[in-house]
Symmetry: C2
Subunit: 287 residues, 2 copies
Amino acid sequence: MTCEKRLLELWRRAKRLLDERLSEVVERLPETEAIDVARYIVAGGKRLRGFTTLLVAEGLGGSWEDAVEAAVAVELVHSASLAIDDVIDGDVTRRGGPAAWLKFGPGRAVMVANLLISYAQKMLLERYGFRAVERSVIAWFDISRGEVRDAYMEEGGEYTEIVRLKTGSLFRLAAELGAVAARAPQSVMRRIGEYGELMGIAYQLADDVVDYLRGERGASISRLLAWLGYPHDVLSTVIAKLREILATIDGIVRDMVAGTFAPLLSSLPRFVVKAMFSEAGVSRLVL
Amino acid sequence: MTCEKRLLELWRRAKRLLDERLSEVVERLPETEAIDVARYIVAGGKRLRGFTTLLVAEGLGGSWEDAVEAAVAVELVHSASLAIDDVIDGDVTRRGGPAAWLKFGPGRAVMVANLLISYAQKMLLERYGFRAVERSVIAWFDISRGEVRDAYMEEGGEYTEIVRLKTGSLFRLAAELGAVAARAPQSVMRRIGEYGELMGIAYQLADDVVDYLRGERGASISRLLAWLGYPHDVLSTVIAKLREILATIDGIVRDMVAGTFAPLLSSLPRFVVKAMFSEAGVSRLVL
């Protein structure tokens, strides 16, 4: 079986597992009044960040069962951040339906999203201890910083820095928590964190170029174009950048992971970027 | 000098110190675009929670300098929570001026408040390590839970539980962090946490009875009246409850703190409740 086919199969399995565990966590919320909103906020994601946590844990000698609560925590934070972002940006659709704030009001959306984020933090604390909480505190500070920069900076050459804060930091956390769940040493966790961050940057780059191709022209597109140097052919230029990033990631994996799992971790970032493109209807790209 | 006079003097000093340090922290934010909003969000508080952290630290053998970053973190979280609450509840005034969301828009208010909360968490992590982060994660989960219950539950006998989650947990954290800063043993931290929680409950009770006296009749007033058993004279009934709580607190302090500092820690809850009453123009109450 090719790596890509194997990843697709694993991802489907991971998605089922994460959907199931996320539901269980939400239904167990002590604030039963908030369960409807919480269920809506967590529904419908691709679970690529949680999948990253599971695969990294397995690649470093742990099991999915070791890592599943970390993966669930990452997906909780991701879903909750999107719900808050939509309030901040006034976006009306999310994951193919109306944004949570449109259905339940901005107050309830923000309130339940904040509940989910602190719930995720508590899960990490209780299940994995200091290292997991430390990484998540740093990641959440970076995510908040990225959000502020993204919303406030109108133009400017900061494209990669904003993307690193906004998307790179959560993929970094996803990978780091996989290492924590597998009880990997600190040096391995740091290196796999870089792997995750680069994957996040590649993912966001794909996301932004899709927006560009659809005709969007907001501040982040301006930043993207400025960073690329206003090329004639934006898509080809982005694909060249993506190939560069993916080659760097390959180098990290080769350095780090031995055995039969290395090809899967090496293929994962490519898989994640393609999942982004194919969700947007842009397929048949050779990366 | 009476205890009360001494506390007033210490509180003025603490307020100056905390105002100064909060300003420094805000001006150092790496997201310079957010500084205006952040400055507005943190301005104008009584700093009673941060004062609690400083006094507890000193009472347990530490110094204000050991504890000041913890006190600042508690005040950052408190101010940020208020800014988010105002968005959720649609409240238009705060600390004698327009709410942050009215001045800067709800999106920016929520975004910068979340930035301040994660910044506070990172300060605690870097300065005090695991114990401080652990306590704050648990407190922030409880605060989020309290907010959801407060906003969703229309009536019901849950008054003390909601108050414990909503206000008790942050005062508890304020006291616990004072113990952490003074490197007190775990058992002392737990006991001083109970002291803080009871102080928070007394504070909220005072806050709610002031709202009642002003003619407000929202869900939390209904819960308060139900809990009190719909008495003829609400103020006297609340004062009797406050006296009970303050007596329990006295017992905890007598058990725990020896030496010249005990009377100050014993008077602090009374001082905090009176500061609440006197800010609301209700003075000359004998507690």
